[in-house]
Symmetry: C2
Subunit: 594 residues, 2 copies
Amino acid sequence: MADKYEQVLELAKRRGFIWNSFELYGGTAGFYDYGPLGAMLKRRVENIWRDIFVINEGYYEIESPTIGIEDVFIASGHVGGFSDPLTECQKCKEAFRADHLVQDVAENPDTLSADELTEIIGKNNIKCPECGGRLGKVYEFNLMFKTSIGPGGKRAGYLRPETAQGMFVDFPRLLKFYRDHLPFGATQIGKAYRNEISPRQGVIRLREFTQAEAEIFIDPRDKTHPKIKEVENIELNLYSQEGQSTGEMQKMSLGDAVKNGIIAHEFLAYCLAMTSRFLIRVGVSPEKLRFRQHMKDEMAHYAADCWDAEILSDRFGWVEVVGIADRTDYDLKAHAKQSEKELSVYVSYDVPKKIERFIVKPDMGILGPKFKGKAGKIANALKALKAGELSGDVIELEIDGEQIKIEKDAVKFESITEEVHGENIIPHVIEPSFGIDRIMYSLLEHSYFEEEAGKEDVIEEEKGEGTEAEEVEEKRIVLRLPPEVAPVQAAVLPLLSREELIKPGNEIVAKLRKAGILVAFDDSGTIGRRYRRNDEIGTPYSITVDYQTLEDSTVTIRDRDTMKQVRAGMSDIADSIYDLVYGGKSFEDAGKRI
Amino acid sequence: MADKYEQVLELAKRRGFIWNSFELYGGTAGFYDYGPLGAMLKRRVENIWRDIFVINEGYYEIESPTIGIEDVFIASGHVGGFSDPLTECQKCKEAFRADHLVQDVAENPDTLSADELTEIIGKNNIKCPECGGRLGKVYEFNLMFKTSIGPGGKRAGYLRPETAQGMFVDFPRLLKFYRDHLPFGATQIGKAYRNEISPRQGVIRLREFTQAEAEIFIDPRDKTHPKIKEVENIELNLYSQEGQSTGEMQKMSLGDAVKNGIIAHEFLAYCLAMTSRFLIRVGVSPEKLRFRQHMKDEMAHYAADCWDAEILSDRFGWVEVVGIADRTDYDLKAHAKQSEKELSVYVSYDVPKKIERFIVKPDMGILGPKFKGKAGKIANALKALKAGELSGDVIELEIDGEQIKIEKDAVKFESITEEVHGENIIPHVIEPSFGIDRIMYSLLEHSYFEEEAGKEDVIEEEKGEGTEAEEVEEKRIVLRLPPEVAPVQAAVLPLLSREELIKPGNEIVAKLRKAGILVAFDDSGTIGRRYRRNDEIGTPYSITVDYQTLEDSTVTIRDRDTMKQVRAGMSDIADSIYDLVYGGKSFEDAGKRI
């Protein structure tokens, strides 16, 4: 029997959500297209992300190029370290990830060096999984797609492996935009690339994918969050470092998790809350969502704490879809070093700080006559001295290799108190990073249901000829997508394909379109079959035009999930559907139950 | 004095619309970032495009990868022909477009071959514009960014030079999605790339840019448009082939243009109307917009007709921003050939056609006994004959090099009438292709005004301490963006930065955000300066909270363009702003004029 992944992909291909890219030419691993329904679904998912991060948190979106220059990825470490260990079959020339091949004979294979992997392959006599041939020496293969900017190959370009670097490189501009105040954040939704050696996990491992990332720059001395109160009672499935050592997940409120030191600080906890809210709102099942903390040895050396949102899938188990990390000042420091520019924020103190400072004042009236031309050099040397070095009666200096003695009375010194109003600090970065394609697959899988629908009540035609006895299939596939992400938001179905019913149908279509509702008109096949077609693509509401419509200007609205129907007026149908989709209107309030 | 381009770019960089990419590392020609305001503006522009093409025309969007495989671009002609002629300075190694260098000494330099250009450069003694060095032999430089998919360089990949090919490659899937009915269309908004030799026109010539393209597949025998009536009275500035020969633009209705044979057909005319509607809606000035027809020698050989939407800019003159072409069956045929698959649509006739067909029936009862083993071959040869070849008494055939004579009575033949219900046709493609970045620049330029604002009425503070006498600058920069594209849709400004005014201000912010309105809160500086700041970024409405707000829960709303103010209730402020931005509500109706 087909597993859930196959079932979902079959539907996705057949109905136009997702399919292999370049099918016409046989396809290429790691590339998928979003078809008409998939692209619309993706757009809606991305817009919900924007609603949360951009509109409501105020982290403006930017758009930087997908091609980056070499400096950027030298700074980020991708030129040096973004690679997978590769071994090639000497016979069939197929390439493999060496760490995957030794999975059964080595522990933590992803921590091994190329030489170690070569040795393990040799010792264990591991052969090419395709043809049994001998495997070559393992080497590190850089996963960035490389290209060349302009003619002559003089300037290397790389397809970005993440959108994040765009925000780091723009830090000076962003700081100015936010008028030098911390915290501030910038976001980006866009393509990122990873030239996988040999991707074999379908839509889960893509060579070109979409990321939605926020880089939030905060004051390292204050990792509280002003809105923590709003989320501290939210309970999440946490799989902490400790939990992982005992294999136990824990349902815990964010407030407690911070209090107990499980989540490092409020700001990170708040990001977990936003992430959970987003994922559930787009259609991920809450019980199939958990937050797993990175183990100490798995976390980047610079990170203060890191949590992955993981989603349970039928075939792949728990799949990482979001990473939420406190990256400290690592990225800004790296770019400051590479660009030789200062990347910091001047932060004013609430109250100016008083700082004691020791100053030395050489008496030029004494030094001048005594040392003539050397007096200036001596004065500077004296000014550089610290309090302790001025304690004796005679001060010894070395000027141009010459030992010089200065009497104490030629130098005055004192301690003064200065007011300091602020300092330059390097912000820390909190980064929630979303893999949109995996989220897309997850929500399709979680929305996918095959069920016995039973014989559905099909509207009785009250006038004359009557519909032919319908063969409504009693089994249905239904995508229980949240209405606000469903690609097609309403279907308009004239009961029969006749001019007198098509006309009011088209009027409804025009009204809905004007309100920005994506509507499908369908007058082919029996009404039952049309309901099924729309169930399959997740259309939440089907509007049927029948002969009663011609009498009293009402239509039926059918709810996808319950298959219940209400009778509602045609005049405010656009508002009604709009409120059902976006306004949280309940279906019962949309019309008279029939 | 700075020209308009400089003024617009200065504002764009300073306020966060557009800036050079990789500034931290000195920048790279041909790459620009959209900053926080620019990216939001771009998003809104793209969403209006979607509203028109996807929601209202029903041309679903798809999303295919930005990396394409070689087959695709061999079929499209980009591997062979997407190039510019390049010459390199032998001294300083700088690269130039050879056709640009000979501009003053040759006519139509873009039609010349590399050899011809080399000759002209030599004859005219043209030197390197940078250093005066000798220029090298001209060669064709392919403008696609090239990369390699997977390890070993075995599989070439190209960054797509246009989004269009994604739709062509997906034709079989799309046809199925639209249930085999013409016309249908698919759209895509996404990145496209062009590895310019040496881009020197700022935001006008980018190496990475955003396209919005529709590929509409229509029946080649019927290029009418069902909604032509809705647009036939729209008058556009047309600059036809004929007009260009006399240098005259013509304001003409689309109906007349089709009737007079200026625009090839209704479908193209309808696309011109949609284009015009889109451009004006996002903020292009109608009087700075024209549609220029491609001249015969400039049009692709396969195109039936082609029009560019051009926008007048201060520095660059008329700039092409949209191309609208009838590409006939060129693209589908090219991919059918390369992929060796049939790309066509079976079209049923309304009424089955009767077709006369001539059939030959060899009489095996005669042929069998006479020719034995050869009888089968002879029968097949007879069946392949045409009516004229069967007219004599004896039929001569050559079978396996042997001349054979057949008596007439061994062959019966007749003409039969068959019913044919339809045929396979290759659709024609209508392609409106939008350059989003150029449109972005154009609408910024067209919206940009420096004006004497005069002393603006600043709200009098009625209670107590009073604001300090303000120094309101009397000159203002204002971006007159249409409210529905303005990045920040409303600013909330407490008259003074005091807790009692900040609190209701924050309440309004929360309400607006919940309604999906992008709102900026600003309490720093005088109210007049804050108005100016918001004028500059095009915020259409500023909401001021003052001491009267505390008494009667009203606020002032200020209109960016007229600087007029109304007093409105706080309770329905979200609906009010929403309707002003999206619902076409007039400012006068938003409150009581003050």
